[in-house]
């Protein structure tokens, strides 16, 4: 049994003539420890899909199944990293407080919460900014805080919604490598939504390519690039270029049966 299964998921908004179908009959599975990136043209329902997986949105049809149990609300073993770090971090809390806050519901002592928070902050290399407010930090550092917060929660599945879309290229590369590193360190399964083909190839063990709206699985691509991945070496491998071209074509190709 897979850790996470998306089973014939469908979601539409609105009613009657104004109905918009975001995703239709979407199915794929994620194995334990995998990093699956979901890619597709803009407006193909990537974010809707992620919100459904995270239990933040109830699908119109189909189901998300985690360890055999259907997801009906945000599960205890999932954490989400949103794209808009500046809107997802609480501006009235310091870095330390932001990271420890979600642990309140975990039944830990204050001391344990504090320790777990500091550990996660150290893992993303922000120990020096523990008592800063997020808005005192750069965009890349803020997203690190968001990642630390997710790690401290110790989820088995980490959902990331275009997490690096609003930072500069160098920071983006750093955050990509950070993601790969903490994945190994914390043994977490990751589902990452992105519109960046290079990023999806660089990070993933498997790529799920979605069709234009309503989003369905166009193709699943297995990525067997050597690990650990390296920003320079991996990206210059001929296999990387091949995969990248392949995924690019898949994203552009009109969906079958239309």
């Amino acid at each position: 049994m897979s850790l996470l299964e998306v089973d014939r998921l469908g979601m539409h908004y609105g009613q009657g003539r104004r109905v918009t179908e975001a995703i239709r009959d979407l199915s794929f599975a994620v194995e334990r420890g995998e990093l699956v990136s979901v890619i597709g043209p803009s407006g193909c329902g990537k974010t809707t899909l992620l919100r459904c997986i995270g239990g933040l949105l109830a699908p119109t049809s189909g189901a998300v199944v985690l360890r055999g149990e259907p997801v009906t609300g945000p599960p205890d073993e999932m954490a989400v990293v949103f794209q808009e770090y500046n809107r997802s971090l609480f501006p009235w809390m310091t870095v330390r407080q932001n990271v420890a806050f979600p642990l309140r519901g975990k039944g830990l002592t204050k001391h344990a919460r504090r320790e777990r928070g500091e550990e996660a902050i150290a893992a993303v290399g922000l120990t020096r900014s523990l008592d800063h407010y997020p808005w005192e930090l750069s965009g890349g550092m803020q997203q690190r805080v968001a990642i630390a917060r997710a790690l401290a929660y110790q989820p088995s599945v980490l959902l990331m919604d275009e997490p690096f879309a609003s930072v500069d290229a160098q920071t983006r590369a750093d955050l990509e490598d950070l993601t790969l590193r903490v994945r190994d360190e914390f043994g977490v399964t990751i589902v990452l939504v992105t519109h960046d083909i290079d990023e999806s190839v660089y990070l993933a063990d498997r790529i799920v390519v979605l069709s234009p709206a309503p989003g369905r699985v166009q193709e699943t691509v297995r990525v067997e690039l050597p690990k650990p991945r390296d920003q320079i070496e991996t990206r210059t491998l001929p296999e990387f270029t091949e995969l990248r071209t392949h995924v690019h074509r898949a994203v552009k190709r009109p969906p079958e049966g239309v």
Binding site: G55, P74, A79, W92, R104, G105
Partner: protein
């Protein structure tokens, strides 16, 4: 630097010029109703430093403090509840709008009938007047909270009470504070009005009593005191606001810088 110096000197200069003008204009005043400013000031010193502080100033401030506190508790509590529930908000909106449209001093006769002429009546009147700006701002602040913040809290299964206390309330706090600042000046106003009706002490009572007994410099000194009190209270409140909302100023500045 020079601009700031100019601004500071203007800030101080304008009141100084106004007072000096009043002084010059009133020194030779023969009018019974507009006594010379020096007379008013010496009366002020005789009356308020510190003879009548316990008799009139403290009762006034106590009423204001009680009324304002009650209004803040009700306004924030009800504002959170209505802000969080769209059905409740829609159901109660017309009622709230209607009640808030009634000028509170018009309720004084009713309050006297229902509550008598004691401090309960006065505190109730002050609280009633103060509650609206806090309530409406709290509703707005809560209803307008960034959805990503709420989703984040939800995705981490933050319990409802924790969510309200640590996410919703702080997010709405800047607007709640704006409401409280408005309420404070409304409160002073209504405090004075309530003390002019069936009262035996308080600054409002003193001003009206002075006028009725033709103690005109005393009347003016009371008005002067109200101005100073209002200014001081607002100043103190702004200080507290700056402290509590330090994050908000920093956050806004960084948001503007990034845009």
């Amino acid at each position: 630097m020079r601009r700031r110096l100019l601004a500071a000197s203007l800030e101080l200069g304008v009141p100084v010029v106004l007072v000096a003008g009043w002084w010059l204009w009133s020194t030779r005043s023969e009018s019974f109703y507009y006594p010379p400013l020096p007379d008013i000031l010496s009366t002020f010193a005789d009356t308020w430093l510190f003879e009548r502080v316990a008799d009139d100033v403290l009762p006034s401030l106590a009423r204001l403090a009680a009324g304002f506190t009650i209004a803040a508790i009700f306004g924030i509590g009800l504002g959170l509840a209505l802000g969080l529930s769209r059905p409740a908000r829609l159901t109660l909106a017309p009622t709230v709008e209607f009640l808030r449209a009634i000028p509170t001093p018009a309720l004084i006769p009713v309050a006297i009938v229902l509550l008598g002429i004691g401090d309960t009546m006065r505190v109730t009147i002050i609280a009633t007047a103060c509650v609206w700006p806090i309530l409406l701002n709290a509703i707005d602040g809560v209803a307008g909270i960034d959805t990503t913040l709420v989703e984040t809290a939800r995705s981490y299964r933050v319990r409802r009470l924790d969510r309200v206390r640590w996410v919703v309330l702080p997010a709405a706090l800047p607007q709640i504070f704006a409401g409280m600042r408005t309420s404070l000046s409304v409160g002073i106003l209504v405090m004075v009005v309530s003390e002019m009706e069936a009262s035996t002490n308080g600054i409002g009572f003193f001003v009206l009593q002075s006028q009725r007994t033709f103690a005109i410099p005393e009347m003016w000194s009371g008005i002067l005191l109200l101005g100073i009190l209002g200014y001081a209270l607002n100043f103190g409140f702004t200080r507290i606001e700056r402290r509590v909302l330090r994050w908000h100023r920093g956050w806004r500045a960084s948001a503007l810088g990034a845009a």
